[in-house]
């Protein structure tokens, strides 16, 4: 399997590997995929009071492309608002990493992981406009 240099770089030096405590303020988690399919991605975002993603972490069980795709999106979502992060498309990920056609599903999974994390954020804390600590608790 010939990988692009960018995939190999992310695989060998993955960015933002790890986990936030699930109950930490502003943290939301998205987990997508299944072990039987060979890919599971867990993406966590930490959102500040202004609705901006301050930090992100990932853990991925999967091939080099899956690891690279999730490592890349942790870099991309940082500094974006929740809305902006929701507009990241798998085609951008696939293009950036020069994924071969058989690995496109890795970029789709990474997009799904962002969407799942954002959905968890909205479920936990309501809309971005309501992103105040007191209201967050009310939304729980």
């Amino acid at each position: 399997m010939a990988y692009s240099e960018k995939v190999i770089d992310h695989y060998e030096n993955p960015r933002n590997v790890g986990s936030f405590a699930k109950d930490e303020e502003g943290v939301a988690t998205g987990m997508v995929g299944a072990p039987a399919c060979g890919d599971v991605m867990k993406l966590q975002i930490k959102v500040n009071k202004d609705g901006v993603i301050e930090d992100a972490r990932f853990k991925t069980y999967g091939c080099g492309s899956a690891i690279a795709s999730s490592s890349l999106v942790t870099e991309w979502v940082k500094g974006k608002t929740v809305d902006e992060a929701g507009s990241i498309k798998n085609t951008q990920i696939a293009e950036e990493l020069a994924l071969p056609p058989v690995k496109i599903h890795c970029s789709i999974l990474a997009e799904d992981a962002i969407k799942a994390a954002l959905a968890d954020y909205r479920k936990k804390y309501g809309t971005e406009e309501a992103a105040q600590p007191a209201q967050r608790q009310a939304a729980d």
């Binding site: 695989y11 072990p35 039987a36 091939c63 080099g64």
Partner: protein, 406 residues
């Protein structure tokens, strides 16, 4: 085989072996000034080549304790398997149409079986036990009055387990069923005594035992005589069983490789077993490591292990400083797990995350030390990155999780 070259450390001796330099030396004259055709009867070039071929035939026969007249040269174990299976099935087809083999056989056995099914034969593919071995009672139960041929390998290429060939031979001989054994992975690894084993046909390969690629042999028993229909027709070489000019240099190489194996296998296997056990002890320091296949009925040079919670393809990338085989053949879009490990009942995830390490003549203790250190570091890194490992560590039963299959 050094660590300071661009090549990874070679731990894939079951795929192929380097040709022993002593073997190369014996081969070279037969390519240059002693180039004669062993079938040439009218001059010294031919006579010398024929003598060399017969000397090599005697060396192959000595390793497995049979009559040199029972050895037929072929291009390798795949051709030997084809000649044995198709040749015997075609010759004895009026006696019956049922054949038996095992799901963990090499493709060189399974594919000829599939071909014979297309021709109208019926094949039973036995399931091995979870340890990889054939259960004799289940084997007996699969026999039918019209069974004409059984093909079971001596040593499995992926997991290295040794099948109960002697016991199976007693059963087939008592019933007059032809018994073929693929011994490509067995020569130089286990004692083979064809005077005792009730085996009728046995396939050999040179390149798994420090000989050259492109040469092999088929043992065809004379007493009681086993008949075959030739698959290659032509000049009638090898008593009509396999036509084609004999490649003297290759044959000389196989003879020398098997001679060295006979003389050195006892001491060599002990050294290799120590290295394998050192490797096993090293990987067993890690949690959630599963050895595939029985450890006792196993050749000394094979170790096949699955690393749980690590995905197969990233595992291969992580092992790039080691030349090893993976249970996961990622050829194209689909990642195919090893059919051998699936037949043992391993789930897809564990089958995918398996690595076969095979040690050989030129493996050094420091190579094993390097491998153990690398494996521990890389598996640790991949697990730190694995959400499944995290969940396992938190005590979550992964089978209870509702996964969104994609």
């Amino acid at each position: 085989m050094t660590t300071d070259t661009k090549y990874p450390i070679y731990l894939d001796y079951s795929a192929t072996t380097p040709v022993d330099p002593r073997v190369v030396e014996k081969m070279i004259p037969w390519l240059t000034h002693q180039f004669g055709n062993p079938a040439s009867r009218s001059h010294a070039y031919g006579w010398d080549a024929e003598a060399a071929v017969e000397n090599a035939r005697a060396e192959v026969a000595k390793l497995v304790n049979c009559d040199p007249k029972e050895i037929v040269w072929t291009s390798g174990a795949t051709e030997s398997d084809n000649l044995a299976i198709k040749g015997a099935a075609h010759f004895y087809k009026t006696k019956g149409k049922h054949l038996i083999t095992v799901k963990t056989e090499h493709k060189a056995v399974l594919d000829p079986m599939r071909e014979l099914e297309r021709e109208g034969f019926e094949v039973t593919y036995l399931d091995p036990e979870p340890d990889g071995l054939v259960d004799l009672e289940k084997f007996k139960a699969a026999l039918r009055p019209d069974t004409i041929l059984v093909s079971i390998m001596f040593v499995n290429n992926e997991i290295g387990v040794i099948q109960p060939i002697a016991e199976i031979g007693e059963i087939t001989r008592a019933k007059g069923i032809v018994f073929h054994v693929d011994a490509a992975q067995a020569t130089g690894k286990v004692e083979i005594d064809l005077a005792k084993l009730k085996v009728d046909l046995m396939s050999f390969s040179a390149h798994k035992t420090y000989g050259p690629k492109g040469i092999g042999a088929l043992y065809v028993r004379r007493k009681p005589r086993v008949r075959l229909e030739a698959q290659m027709h032509g000049g009638g070489h090898e008593k009509g069983l396999r036509s084609g000019t004999l490649p003297t240099h290759q044959i000389v190489g196989m003879g020398e490789a098997f001679r060295i194996a006979r003389l050195e296998m006892a001491t060599e296997n002990e050294r290799i077993r120590m290295l394998r056990d050192k490797l096993l002890a090293g990987v067993q320091d890690l949690e959630e490591v599963y050895v595939n296949g029985d450890l006792e009925h196993r050749v000394p040079h094979n170790l096949n292990v699955s690393f749980n919670f690590v995905e197969g393809e990233s595992l291969i990338m992580a092992m790039k400083e080691l030349a090893v085989s993976s249970g996961s053949a990622c050829t194209s879009a689909s990642l195919e797990p090893s059919y051998v490990l699936r037949a043992l009942g391993r789930n897809d995830e564990l089958a995918h995350s398996s690595i076969r390490f095979t040690i050989g003549r030129f493996t050094r203790p420091e190579d094993i030390d390097f491998a153990v250190k690398l494996i521990k570091e890389r598996i640790g890194k991949l697990r730190e990155m694995s959400p499944l490992w995290e969940m396992f560590k938190e005590g979550i039963d992964l089978n209870s999780v509702q996964w969104a299959a994609h």
